[in-house]
Symmetry: C2
C-alpha cells in the first residue's frame, strides 16, 4: 500500500486475519501506518524509482491516498505490477475536472459545473445559473475548486462576488466552478468492486460536516426512503463499474429538497464515511478493500446493528488523549475507539469512535460525548 | 509482548485501534506476530539479558505464552518493569503442581490428583480412587501430566496400567497424576481482570476436542443451565482474584454428569477458547487483554450474536491454503477467516474461522465446512 496514513493503518489491521504480507511505502517512520506495519519502506511516492523499487515483489499495489502521479501508475503497470484501482479509474478521484466530464458522459447527476479560466469567467458561470426573468440575482455564491490536491475543505472556496474569486487561480491549477447546491443533507454511497466484477453496496449513510470536515456519520441515513437509498446505491455501483474502479469507492452525495441525489466527490480508497463499518457491518470497508484488491470474493456489507454512528476525534488543546481513555471507556464499555497514533494538533483528525445500538439518540449521544471528551471540548 | 505466536499477532491487531506502541520479542522474524508488527526484537526469552534489553522502555510486559522462567519475571519486576500477569500469578499457569495445590487451598473443585514419584506410586494413586468394596477395579485409567511444558495434548498421557506409566517420568520433570474424569463435555469460563480489580466474564463456552486438540468452540455453551453457567463464571472470577491474575484468564472445565464443574487447566493469556469473541462479542478477548494489561477500563464482554462458533484450521496436505479462500469466501460471505501466517504442516494449528447467527446448526455447519475446506478434508 502506498501512503502511511490512518487508512493504511486500518487496512493493515483488517488484512492481518487474511494472513497476507502487507508492505507499506511511507513518507516517514512516524507515519500512522508505519508505526504498526512490519514491512515498511520509507520513501517519496512522487519519485518513480522509489515506487518501482517498492513495487518489486508485490503481487498488487493499492493506495492510502490519491496523490500518486498518473504517469507513475502507468509505468508500474507497464512493469507488470497490477495497480488497483488502476490509473484510468483513479484519475477520476485525482482530478475533479476529469471526474465531472466522465460523470456528464455517463449521465450521472452532478451540480451544474464547468472549468473557469478567471474571475470574470466565474461571474459568467454564475450568471448562466440565473433563472430567466430573475433580475435580482447575480448567480452567486459559486463554489470554486482546484481540480487537484484538495481535501477536507482545502482547495475549496465559496465565493460571493468576482472579487472574491481571485485566490483559487493563484495556484496555477485549473479551477472548476460549481453551483452552490441547496442540499438537505450530505449522503455517502459506498461500494466495493473487485477485478472480476463482483460488487457490494453498503447502506447509504448520512455524513455531517462541521467547518468543511466530516464530523459524524450515521449508518444507515435516518429517514432515507428505500427508493432514494436504492437509487444512490445503484448510482455508486454504476459509477464503480463504468469507471473500472477496483476496491472501495466512496460516492459523496448531496440530497436535494426535491428528492434527488447529486454527486459531490469520489474517493477510490477506504473513506471516512465508511469507518462505521469496522464495528457496524458484517465486513468492514477495509476488509472488503483488501479482498477486492486481491480479487477475493467480497464479504457481506450488511449492518450488524440497527444504528451505527461514527464521530471523528479532532485534536484539541491536550496533547495526551490517552488519559481521556479512562473516563470514556469507564463511561461506555461498548464504545469502540480507533486512534491513529498521530501527534495531537488542534483540529487535526487523530482518530474516531464508533457506537452502535437500537436507539439512535443514545448512539449519537455516546459517539459525540466520547469524541468531544477525547478532544477536550466536553469535560464531564 | 514476549512471544511471537498467533496470540501476539491477534493482540497486536486488537491494540492498533488504541494507538498504543506494541513491541514484540520474537524467536525469529518469520514468527506469526513478527510478520505484522513494526517494533520487533529477535531474541531468546530464556536469556535474562535479552529480556532486560527488550523490556527497557516498555511501560508494561505481557506474554503470548507461559514459558518465561519465573525468576526472569522477578528480575524484571525488580528492575521496575510491571509484568502482567505477574510471576506469582503466572506460576499457576506454568506449573500444574503449583496450580493444583493453590486451587485445593482455595477449595476450588478439581479432579482428584497428587504428585506421583514413579509407576508404583501411580498404581497406588489409582488404587486410592477405588470405591470401598469394589474388588473389580484397579483404579485405572489414570491421567499423567508433566507439571511443566505441556500443551495441546503434549505432556499428557492416559495410562491403563503401571507398565504404561514409565514414559512420563523420563523427562525428569515432576509428574502429576489425576483421575480420569467421566465428563459430559468440556467448558471454558473466560474472564479478564485488571490491576485495579475490575473484572469481566465472557459467556461460558463449550469446547470440543479432537485428538487432544481444540476443534470447535460454541459460544455460549448450548443448553447450559443459567445456574451452572453462573457458578462457572463465579469460579473463574474468584480464581482470577485469588491468584492475582491480570489480563485474560481461561479456566478450562469438565462438566460432570452430576452437574458440577471441575477445573482442568488454567491459561493466563488470550486463549483458543476465546477466539470466538473476535467476531462474536462486543469486546474481544484480545482487546480486553490489552486494556487490562494497560489498566484501562474493560470493555463489554457480552455476545453480539445468539450463537458464535469458532473452528480451528489445521494444516492439511496442501501447503497453499490461500487458494481455498476463493471457495470459502464465495460460499459464505459472512465467514470470518483468521489465519496466522504460519507455514502449513499437517495437523498444525494455522488459523481459525468464526461464524455467527441465530441458528446453531447452520452456524456450526458453516464453521466446520470452512475449516475442513481450508484443511483439504472437505473438497466441495
Amino acid at each position: 500500500m502506498v501512503g502511511g496514513g490512518q487508512l493504511a493503518r486500518m487496512t493493515h489491521e483488517a488484512g492481518i486475519p487474511l494472513g497476507i504480507r502487507f508492505k507499506l511505502l511511507s513518507d516517514t517512520p512516524q507515519d500512522s501506518a508505519a508505526q504498526v506495519v512490519s514491512d515498511v519502506v520509507i520513501g517519496d511516492y512522487r519519485d518513480l524509482d522509489t515506487l518501482r523499487d517498492f513495487a518489486r515483489g508485490c503481487d498488487v499495489i493499492t493506495f492510502d491516498h490519491e496523490h500518486v502521479p498518473t504517469e507513475h501508475l502507468r509505468a508500474l503497470e507497464a512493469d507488470g505490477i497490477p495497480v488497483r484501482p488502476g490509473p484510468d479509474a483513479l484519475v477520476n478521484a485525482q482530478d475533479k475536472g476529469v471526474m465531472r466530464a466522465k460523470l456528464d458522459e455517463l449521465g450521472v447527476p452532478c451540480p451544474r459545473h464547468r472549468i473557469v479560466k478567471d474571475p470574470a469567467d466565474v461571474a459568467a458561470f454564475a450568471a448562466e445559473g440565473v433563472a430567466a426573468g430573475d433580475t435580482e440575482s447575480d448567480g452567486f455564491p459559486v463554489v470554486l475548486k482546484t481540480v487537484r490536491g484538495g481535501y477536507d475543505g482545502k482547495g475549496v472556496w465559496v465565493v460571493r462576488s468576482p472579487e472574491q474569486a481571485a485566490e483559487p487561480f493563484r495556484a496555477g491549477v485549473p479551477v472548476l466552478a460549481e453551483e452552490m447546491v441547496g442540499f438537505v443533507r450530505e449522503l455517502a454511497a459506498n461500494v466495493v468492486r473487485s477485478p472480476h466484477g463482483q460488487a457490494v453496496a453498503y447502506p447509504v449513510v448520512e455524513s455531517r460536516q462541521v467547518d468543511g470536515v466530516c464530523d459524524t456519520v450515521i449508518a444507515p441515513a435516518p429517514g432515507l426512503s428505500e427508493d432514494l437509498a436504492g437509487r444512490a446505491q445503484e448510482l455508486a455501483l454504476r459509477v464503480a463499474k463504468e469507471l473500472g474502479v477496483v476496491g472501495h469507492l466512496a460516492v459523496e452525495l448531496f440530497e436535494t429538497p426535491d428528492g434527488r441525489v447529486l454527486v459531490n466527490e469520489l474517493a477510490m480508497r477506504p473513506h471516512n464515511s465508511g469507518h462505521w463499518s469496522q464495528d457496524g457491518a458484517i465486513t468492514s470497508q477495509f476488509a472488503n478493500h483488501v479482498r477486492a484488491v486481491l480479487d477475493l470474493p467480497l464479504g457481506d456489507p450488511r449492518p450488524r446493528a440497527k444504528w451505527t454512528v461514527m464521530a471523528n476525534v479532532l485534536g484539541g488543546d491536550y496533547p495526551d488523549m490517552y488519559a481521556a481513555y479512562l473516563h470514556c471507556m469507564a463511561r461506555d464499555p461498548q464504545l469502540k475507539i480507533h486512534m491513529y497514533g498521530k501527534d495531537v494538533k488542534p483540529g487535526r483528525k487523530v482518530g474516531h469512535v464508533n457506537t452502535y445500538g437500537d436507539d439512535l439518540d443514545d448512539v449519537l449521544e455516546r459517539a459525540r460525548h466520547a469524541a468531544g471528551y477525547l478532544r477536550g471540548t466536553i469535560t464531564e
